[in-house]
């Protein structure tokens, strides 16, 4: 059932605010608690790798397609990663058909940054003939149902898909198929500031209340490989560092439970 995505009733906003003042959330979670996550790999059978992620009610299918192609002229000896996100109209009453707008573009770029800067994929290994032929990896994030916090679900789905991806060498007469070498597990963790508190994994409603949304991407050794502040309200240094720490802890939990082989 769709929720009106126009205006939230003032009394509902008051209710959610008062809950936060009492240290509570509408669905009973702690401020640093994530909703239930499930990951199913290999769902898109025509893709070289894929993962269907469910985070609360959010459902995202990430598909990886790989084909040989030309490298970028300024980086002739490394492979190419291209990340795209589609907020398809069935996922939310507010999504329209058409080319990606700023929301989808931001999601794609943030997820891409996390994968690139963590060097999760050794792009040098994807070079076949310098300046001529490299593997091109397409990460297509297909949002099926927006139940809040798409960035984290997209990030988890992307790395889960990559961990189950095969380089399709046989198909192109380039040798034997082999697993895509992935050497890190970057995960984006998003927090909102609301009522003076920092709250992880915002639900759909919480996301609407937030003055500011802050995403931190950490990798397996707890280094930071990307971040993004989205929205108008400012954050203090103290708040930023607290989210960095909360993100590290939450990402480690998710990595341990779902993604480590």
């Amino acid at each position: 059932m769709q929720m009106s995505d126009d205006v939230m009733a003032e009394i509902h906003r008051d209710y959610l605010f008062n809950l936060v003042l009492k240290g509570e959330r509408d669905d009973g979670r702690a401020f640093d608690e994530f909703r239930d996550i499930s990951i199913e790999t290999g769902v898109a059978g025509m893709a070289e790798g894929s993962a269907l992620v469910t985070l609360g009610d959010t459902q995202i299918l990430v598909g990886i397609k790989i084909q040989p192609g030309e490298p970028f002229p300024d980086t002739p000896d490394v492979g190419v990663i291209i990340t795209n996100a589609e907020l398809i109209p069935m996922a939310s009453p507010e999504y329209e058909a058409g080319p990606p707008r700023e929301g989808a573009i931001e999601i794609a770029r943030v997820v891409d940054r996390g994968i690139r800067e963590s060097k999760a994929i050794d792009l040098e290994k994807l070079c076949m003939i310098e300046g001529e032929k490299v593997w091109i990896i397409f990460i297509d994030i297909h949002v099926l149902n927006n139940g809040g916090n798409i960035i984290d679900a997209a990030s988890i789905g992307s790395i889960a898909a990559l961990l189950n991806t095969t380089l399709p060498a046989e198909r192109y007469g380039l040798g034997e198929d082999s697993p895509l070498p992935v050497r890190d597990i970057p995960i984006a963790i998003t927090a909102i500031e609301f009522g003076g508190e920092l709250i992880l994994d915002p639900s759909l409603e919480e996301g609407k209340l937030a003055g500011t949304v802050y995403t931190v991407i950490t990798n397996s050794d707890n280094g930071i490989s990307g971040m993004q502040k989205s929205g108008v309200e400012p954050l203090t240094i103290d708040q930023v560092m607290r989210v960095v720490d909360m993100a590290g802890t939450a990402a480690a939990k998710i990595r341990e439970k779902f993604l480590e082989v």
Partner: protein, 255 residues
């Protein structure tokens, strides 16, 4: 592309073991999405398709609103990773055409006059493609519309028929679609009324008539699967009456 098989039918069995009048395996899941008003996920052979409906809802832009009825909008789209060679996201001429005929298939059955000025949006997303996505999409769309509580004359049931090795076959698989002599997707509403019909390839007049008759048999089979899915969704406390106080009216292709 792989090579054309030498034979499509050996000893009455097709390449995947089916008889000429058999559908591929079908799995249906209702209401997988919670934002949409109605939704249906279908696995049809190796196709994986999601259908979702929003509506009736406000139609934008205003100038497209119809003062006497709802406007049915149908959007068929293939995910970039749904096929062997990645598809660039966005509309293609093929998806635009399929969207248009898809809308035509449902315009007849939906009681649009009950909801003037609104839109009834149907979205079909192909997540994995293996021949017959437009007909599987129509079947999923029918269920998503029912799931959304949209009033209709009845469900629309679809299948494709074609010709391989000189025989008319039901529900083309990939090789039959790529290398066969004809591909005829058909959708029918109650009473055998055809609401969607296209053809690619070549058939004689008699072959075509035979194909239509086989399509009717196929659509009836599909209808039973759709019906079963809707009834099972609410079985729980609610065992279906064995007498079947409710019956589907028999359709007549000549009507």
């Amino acid at each position: 592309m792989s090579e054309k098989p030498e034979h499509f039918i050996i000893d009455g069995k097709r390449l995947d073991g089916r008889r000429v009048d058999e559908l591929r395996s079908v799995k249906i899941k209702l209401s997988p999405l919670d934002r949409a008003d109605g939704s249906c996920y279908i696995e049809w052979g190796r196709n994986k398709i999601m259908a979702a409906v929003y509506g009736p809802r406000e139609l934008h832009p205003r100038h497209r609103q119809n003062m006497t009825k709802a406007v049915v909008q149908y959007r068929y789209n293939m995910a970039a990773f749904s096929v062997s060679d990645r598809i660039r996201p966005g509309h293609s001429r093929r998806s635009i055409e399929i969207s248009k005929v898809g809308r035509d298939a449902f315009e007849y059955v939906v009681f649009t006059k009950f909801f003037p000025k609104t839109a009834i949006d149907v979205f079909i997303e192909v997540l994995q493609a293996d021949a017959g996505t437009r007909t599987a999409g129509i079947n999923a769309a029918s269920l998503a519309l029912a799931d959304a509580g949209i009033p209709m004359r009845g469900l629309v049931s679809a299948c494709a028929v074609g010709k391989v090795d000189g025989e008319i076959v039901l529900d083309l698989m990939k090789e039959e679609d790529n290398f066969g002599e004809a591909d005829v997707p058909v959708a029918m509403a109650a009473g055998g009324k055809i609401t969607h019909l296209q053809m690619d390839g070549h058939l004689t007049r008699d072959e075509f008539y035979e194909a239509l008759k086989l399509a009717k048999i196929g659509c009836d089979k599909v209808y039973k699967l759709q019906r079963q899915a809707l009834i099972e969704k609410y079985s729980g406390d609610y065992a279906e009456n064995g007498e079947d106080a409710i019956t589907q009216s028999e359709g007549d292709a000549d009507e």
